[in-house]
Amino acid sequence: MKKILIYLEPNKEVLKRTSYELISAAKILSEQLNIGFLGVLVNGTESQVKSAGEYGLTEVIMVNNAILNDYSLTSYAKVISETAKSSDCDILLFAGNASGLELAPRVAAKLSAGYISDCIALESAGGQITAKKPVYAGKAVITSKIKTETQVFALRPNVFTAVKTSTTDVAIKNLEIYITQEDVKSKVVSLTKNEGKLDVLEADIIVSGGRGIKAPENYNLIELLADSFGAAVGASRAVVDAGWRPHTEQVGQTGKTVSPSLYVACGISGAIQHLAGMSTSKIILAINKDKDAPIFKVADYGIVGDLFAVIPKLSEKIHEFKK
């Protein structure tokens, strides 16, 4: 193995949190494998590069080109694979987010590389990287390794810890890659943020409601509790299929897979499909009136009680506590 390349993604003046998670994961791998690691940043800024230094990155390849101003999957895939080749990197790390999960397989295909997505742990022994990844919606975990020389991994967000180090100086290397409009086969033309609403994929705390909420208008209780925690609102499949909540909020096998610091399940029985989407949460709190509900088997904390009585009280106590 030669070198690790990390795909860095900008977020305003700094980088996305997932990029720092990748840097920290790469740092550990590089020490174990005794190889170097560097980042690639497309049309980035100096402040973004500088922020990477706070996590111990020492080298960034910057690719700047006006054609890359509008995000295009096909041109970005070309840029990253060309960067890997020209900088002699054979281990590539991507965030397992919306953009990474589209880019990484394309880059892997371009480099004739094996690719493991949704990694929740990377280990290296005897110069070989092994990756753990959930399968069957998290009901099982497989450990696997890549047999090709070039290896691509996408890391599940919020699982690897971003660790600040003593700030390092980051050497910037500018790289020119030949890109034309021909490489832009698709292009992002607009981006709408869910105004004022925290997304379950980005939230550190999630409060979800299930069938126990009984009617869509009662969801204000879930919102109340979410508000006191500063949490995002999630939903079980039952309430999404009933049309009470949008599918963007659905957590579970045919919804989103999340691993927040705290997951609060209110009136959710804990069907296997739901557990699949949230079982890697760091702490799970369940509120359910049925003491035998399966959700309590995976809960760190549980309250057996009527959510209509419990939520207002709990929400008030948290507000009081925070003051």
């Binding site: 999957l73 987010n97 919306a98 589209e102 397989p105 394309r106 590389a113 094996g114 690719y115 493991i116 997505s117 949704d118 092994t130 959930p134 399968v135 069957y136 919606a137 009901k139 099982a140 975990v141 497989i142 450990t143 696997s144 390794k145 890549i146 047999k147 086969k185 698709s186 292009k187 992002v188 033309v189 607009s190 709408t192 943020k193 869910n194 609403k197 925290l198 997304d199 994929l201 980005e202 599918h247 963007t248 045919t254 705290l262 069907a271 296997i272 499909q273 079982s279 709190l285 995976v298 809960a299 760190d300 904390y301 549980g302 309250i303 057996v304 709990l314 106590k317 948290i318 925070k322």
Partner: protein, 248 residues
Amino acid sequence: MNILVCISRVPDTTTRVIVGADGKSIDNSGVKYILNPYDEYAVEEGLRLREKNGGIVTAVTVGNDTGKEILRTVLAMGVDKAMIVKTDSLYDSFFVANNLAEVAKSLNPDIILLGKQSIDFDSLQVPSILAELLGLPSVSVVTGLTIEGTDVKAEREIEGGKEVVETSLPCIISTQKGLNDPRYPKLPDIMKAKSKPIEEINAIESEPRISVIGMEIPSKKRLGKILTDSDEDINELVKLLHEEAKII
């Protein structure tokens, strides 16, 4: 319009996963298999495109003979032609994408639709790898699609919002819940589908790029502190969330 839909056969969502005797794959006994739920949106979208623009919808799957079951399901939904790329070997995403690419080259479709992921390995790899192998544009995790002439506008989910991607035919779209409401096949169509032909071709074998070392059932130790709904217990919970879990 020439529409290709790629589908896969996966364990039902209610399956309890047990590790098989080899220690690295699922124990198949008693497992019920279904059409991958995300592929239903792909099939439905293919059928709607045909209803609007005319043309034919071909469904293809890669796997052993059991894959014919899901081909019968989508024939009953209204797909015109069904194909199976046969293999008995264990395969990875590159193997599947390679074989789908061969089928696509022979059929030359205007659009290829696939579910955003199959709910067995949950890898989200095949649509993008296939696109790269064919040199085509692709949009993943699509919840809205409009096609006019060869202009394609696809809406996709991203963290905290949505983005709209413009591209053109031919292209590859991977489908997400929310794109449409898949139809249920009607009983007479299910009966008719049983006797429809399924074209069989042999897979092109290739060296797997991934090797699985082991499979385990995750068992994160949970604290399991179950409280009542009394005021004292709710106070206790807030205290635990602060002192023990360090969340608030």
